[in-house]
């Protein structure tokens, strides 16, 4: 077990190292990183100062060590526009992103799990087809389109909900729906297939043989076991939501990480864009590690196999 965890952590560290190397090399790919790292419209003297500051006049390996050193100290550079460290900006926006992601997640689970169960119980019949159709629609409608259509309907025509901004609970409804929509489809699909797998197992047959009413078989015996993979996916998706929310947050002017990234693009504030990508990638590596370790605890087969 210890060995397994140690190896997983080793892999994750290697992933992080490669990740930083990828980002580092891509920035240098354009030939002149100073023009990216300098403010738009910076003078030649400013660019020379930037080159000196980031050691861009030194050999590449030295630059990478310098870059890594900064990363390890949590120094992701400073935003041109806000004149504050990127990490600080990121952390100040994180609560908003987490709030949006949790509401979107609750929504996607509330919609995805029951429809997934319904589709599995009625497999091949009417409700299954309806469920399949909605899952397809969920996967095909880009979130920004859902967002814009929601604004058109609820803000412009009905005038029920505010179209942008943050603060109240009402501000949260539409962005959460637009963000959760896609994930609801994914959760529905997984719930369905997971339920189908469980429903075919021996202990469900036994529960039925005992003469338990079908509702109890589904609700008590099948549901609990089918939920494990769905909750795992939901955990990973919560992190994904923070990272894909950029479009939804832009549509609704929600002040989260995604909005920060959008500001980074539109003000040509490169340190922000770089910071968001590095933190996002690291978060996913960390979550994958966590899932691997938790699974190894839950399921001995995994750690013996590896």
């Amino acid at each position: 077990m210890k060995q397994f965890i140690a190896r997983r952590i080793g892999y994750s560290l290697l992933s992080l190292l490669l990740l930083s190397l990828t980002i580092f090399l891509f920035i240098r790919l354009t030939g002149d990183p100073a023009s990216l790292l300098a403010e738009p419209g910076a003078s030649a003297a400013d660019i020379a100062a930037i080159q000196k500051k980031f050691g861009l006049d030194q050999p590449v390996w030295y630059q990478y060590i310098y870059f890594m050193g900064n990363l390890l100290r949590g120094d992701l550079g400073e935003s041109f526009y806000y004149q504050t460290p990127v990490l600080e900006l990121y952390l100040s926006r994180l609560p908003n992103s987490l709030l949006l992601a949790s509401v979107a997640m609750s929504f996607s689970l509330l919609l995805g799990i029951p429809t997934g169960i319904l589709a599995a119980v009625r497999v091949g019949r009417f409700w299954d087809t309806v469920g399949k159709f909605f899952a397809l629609l969920g996967l095909s409608l880009p979130s920004f389109l859902v967002g814009l259509l929601l604004i058109l309907f609820f803000s412009v025509y009905l005038e029920w909900l505010p179209s942008s901004g943050s603060g109240g609970f009402l501000n949260l409804l539409m962005p959460a729906f637009a963000l959760g929509w896609y994930f609801a489809a994914a959760h529905m699909r997984l719930t369905r297939s997971s339920m189908l797998e469980v429903m075919g197992s021996e202990y469900i047959k036994l529960a039925r043989l005992k003469g338990l009413p079908e509702f109890k078989v589904i609700a008590k015996h099948a549901f609990k076991n089918a939920l494990i993979p769905v909750m795992t996916l939901a955990g990973i998706n919560l992190i994904n939501m923070i990272n894909v929310a950029v479009v939804v947050e832009t549509v609704f002017a929600w002040p989260g990480i995604g909005r920060l990234l959008y500001e980074g693009i539109s003000f040509r504030d490169f340190p922000i864009v770089q910071g968001v990508v590095i933190i996002g990638g690291s978060m996913i590596v960390a979550v994958n590690l966590l899932v691997d370790i938790v699974y190894a605890f839950v399921d001995p087969r995994i750690r013996l196999e590896a």
Binding site: L36, I151, V244, V247
Partner: protein, 294 residues
């Protein structure tokens, strides 16, 4: 001899007809229409998509009060004809979507085959790289790359290929691992085939189906990503009529009720992605039983 040849021909024709019978007609038709619009955009579009007259700004579609048949889907904030822009937008989506899917598919498939067949350190290097790139959140990574290389249609293709090749590499490698233990590959090794010719002649034809299925499924993803990037202003540069750019422009008029600037390109994106997904699902069942669970 001639009889047998004809018999096979007849049998083939029969199976082709059978094969075509359950092609999902509607998605095929929709994609066909979009492709048609993309190819013949110059003849189909009544107006220049990039120039409009400022006196004709924000004209609604023809069935609404104030609209006319001169601009059947209305005009935008610069007085440009929405219908013409949609048609030329189809070209952007098709070109970017297909090229990106093909480029990422080729890169991913080749790396997957090489990684799976050669094994050893080559496999380690390629797979570590794949895992790392998979860990980067796709959209954020694409935005990061776009911020570096700047907006242009060509760059979008490169970015999308750079972000999405990993999915192919993962799946193809998995298949190659089981293929290389099979009799016919071992016989080829015994017969003295070079590694390159085994990969090309024996492995590639067996994984190409999965790659095609995955490519069809990725088409929708790629188009949505392109539209998202264009919407955020780091995709196709503005005067070009991409659907994502149109949505982004239309956002200004949304609060005043100029719904057609949002709904029209939105419906186009939705139809295209939906058709690609339906077609991908169908192909998956048709070509590759192993991928059905995907």
């Amino acid at each position: 001899m001639s009889v047998t040849a004809r018999d096979t021909a007849v049998a083939n024709a029969g199976s082709v007809r059978e094969w075509l019978r359950d092609v999902p007609a509607i998605p095929f038709l929709i994609l066909g229409c979009i492709a048609f619009a993309a190819i013949f955009a110059d003849f189909l579009a009544p107006y220049d998509p990039q120039f409009g007259s400022l006196t004709d700004r924000f004209k609604p579609p023809f069935w609404q009060h104030g609209g006319s048949l001169a601009h059947i889907f209305g005009t935008d904030h610069l007085g440009r004809d929405v219908y013409s822009r949609l048609i030329f937008g189809a070209r952007v989506s098709m070109v970017v979507g297909f090229t990106a899917v093909i480029v990422s598919g080729v890169i991913g498939t080749v790396l997957g085959i090489v990684s799976g067949y050669l094994g050893g350190w080559v496999d380690q290097v390629i797979m570590r790289l794949t895992d790392t790139w998979l860990a980067l959140p796709a959209l954020t990574f694409a935005i990061f790359l776009a911020a570096i290389v700047g907006p242009s249609e060509m760059n979008i293709v490169i970015i999308l290929a750079a972000v999405y090749w990993t999915r192919y590499a993962r799946i193809v490698r998995g298949e190659v691992l089981s293929l290389k233990e099979r009799e016919f590959v071992r016989l080829a090794v015994v017969a003295g085939c070079s590694k390159i010719s085994i990969m090309r002649r024996h492995i590639l034809p067996n994984v190409v189906n999965s790659s095609i299925v995955l490519a069809t499924l990725m088409l929708g993803v790629v188009i949505v990503t392109e539209a998202s990037l264009s919407f955020l202003g780091v995709g196709v540069p503005p005067p070009k009529p991409a659907w994502g750019v149109m949505l982004s422009d239309g956002k200004q008029g949304l609060m005043v009720g100029y719904w057609w600037l949002t709904v029209m390109p939105g419906v186009c994106i939705m139809l295209m992605v939906l058709s690609a997904n339906l077609l991908g699902d169908w192909l998956r069942v048709k070509l590759d039983p192993q991928l059905r669970q995907l």
